[in-house]
Amino acid sequence: MIEENNLKRRYLAQNIWFTIFWLSMILIAVVLGSILYFIFSRGVKVINWEFLTAAPRRGMTEGGIFPAIVGTLYLVLGSIVVSLPLGVFSAIYLTEYASPRHPALRAIRTAIHCLAGVPSVVFGLFGLAVFVKIFGFGVSVLSGSLTLGIMSLPVVITSVEEALKAVPLSFREASLALGANKWTTIWRVVLPSSLPGILTGLILSIGRVAGETAPIMFTAAVFYTRGLPQSPFDPVMALPYHIYGLITEGTRPDKQIPLAYGTAVVLILLVIAVDFIAIYWRGRARRSRKW
């Protein structure tokens, strides 16, 4: 009898917890759905061919957002050029070369984790001080890419490190036993095997970089440019900053707020599109790896 009661109680507890888990999941789905619903329902009607391919006109009340799309793509690409090699190289050093018990290594890891928690506006100030002023790159694609690249380094390093650690030791031993040196082993066995994980890190950082406003506010973005940037030293328009501009600096909110929502829709779709490319790529890289 006692046994039976006990059993019943445990089933009850299980059901309660399952319900809590289920409700949390539903809540998140609802929140996510409503974000998409509100943005899309307000933004989708301003989107047409002109909106995607033309520059803004008449004090940002008409025309399109083409320069901002291009600017955001430039910044994303530029930040990848900065963060991917630097992140992959330092992750390789941290996992493959550095002695795991070295105290300096722990300090560096902690520093990387702290860096991940630094507010993005602080990165913006850093970029302003160092790249814009001291290096004299000015407000430009270059300064913005460097700032965004440094901001996304912790994400890239951490995920690449995880990816490298996930490569079985037996692969490395097999390669070393064949007379490969450490670098050959890393280049020919470890890196190809960890490609899916490296791409995951890339996807995460693209998502973050494309949407950031604060780091580019002082380093790369302007409200309006005549035409597209001609060199890395030119400033750009960027989607998140364009939204910010339309909402805060507008003189004709009736016309500009719908444009801001439209821009948001484009930004979301752009991030999703870039993510899908990377996910597709990762899937292809994964297919040959089953261990």
Partner: protein, 252 residues
């Protein structure tokens, strides 16, 4: 007595403060299979991995003594472990093919040595797969993933990969322990066929395997070499009491 391929002299290995091998002296005869047997934890694998300097990768490992290969001590100062490993190949306990195609697995060792000629690589891959008794099973799917092979086939692939670079000595660390009896029989058969070209050192915890596949047997206990001799003699007429006790199953 046959030609000696490798002389292990007073080899002691320490991991931190723990001594794993105690002054082991062992001569490995050329073109024979030498089995190293003993209970788990006796230092068999450590001894094997000392021969191609695979212990170098462990932190705080300390190695004393000499291993003379071709007249030179492989632990002498200035010897690059990479050059040692090119001449002394290794097959591991669990099959560990790379996540690449069957062909690329075998070609790997050639490519890292700078082979560029496509035709030469192809010939060597075919030759190695034939020598590893795997060719007939994989000749129609050389470019499919090595992971599509069965465990036994994967292990023979690893053997093909190891012999593709034509090492002089082949070290095998319990190569059949993860395989079923039929696959084991094929691997043992293969080992016997390889001694025409190679000197083989085989670590095994399976005494029957040592009896079936080896010419010489070394018995290791608690990091010490207890006895070494022709396999026949070790199994039928061991000189030391510990060897007899182990072989008759008094401890394991």
């Amino acid at each position: 007595m046959e030609e000696i391929k490798l002389r292990i002299k007073d080899l002691s290995v320490f991991f931190g403060k723990k001594q794993v091998l105690h002054q082991v002296n062992l001569n490995i005869p050329a073109n024979k299979v030498t089995a190293i047997i003993g209970p788990s934890g006796c230092g068999k694998s450590t001894l094997l991995r000392s021969i191609n300097r695979m212990n170098d990768f462990f932190e705080d490992v300390r190695i004393e003594g000499e291993i003379i290969f071709d007249g030179n001590n492989i632990y002498a100062e200035g010897v690059d472990p990479v050059t040692v490993r090119r001449r002394i190949g290794m097959v591991f306990q669990t099959p560990n093919p790379f996540p690449k195609s069957i062909f690329e697995n075998v070609a790997y060792g050639l490519r890292i040595q700078g082979w560029k000629n496509k035709k030469a690589i192809e010939e060597q891959v075919v030759k190695s797969l034939q020598a590893a008794a795997l060719w007939d099973e994989v000749k129609d799917r050389l470019h499919s993933s090595a992971f599509d092979l069965s465990g036994g086939q994967q292990q023979r692939l690893c053997i093909a990969r190891a012999i593709a670079v034509e090492p002089e000595i082949l070290l095998m660390d319990e190569p059949a322990s993860a395989l079923d009896p039929i696959a084991t029989a094929r691997v043992e058969e293969l080992i016997r066929s390889l001694i025409k070209k190679y000197t083989i050192v085989l670590v095994t915890h399976n005494m029957q395997e040592a009896a079936r596949a080896s010419d010489y047997t070394a018995f290791l206990l608690l990091g010490k070499l207890i006895e070494f001799g022709p396999t026949n003699q070790i199994f039928t007429n061991p000189q030391k009491k510990e060897t007899e006790d182990y072989l008759t199953g008094r401890f394991g």
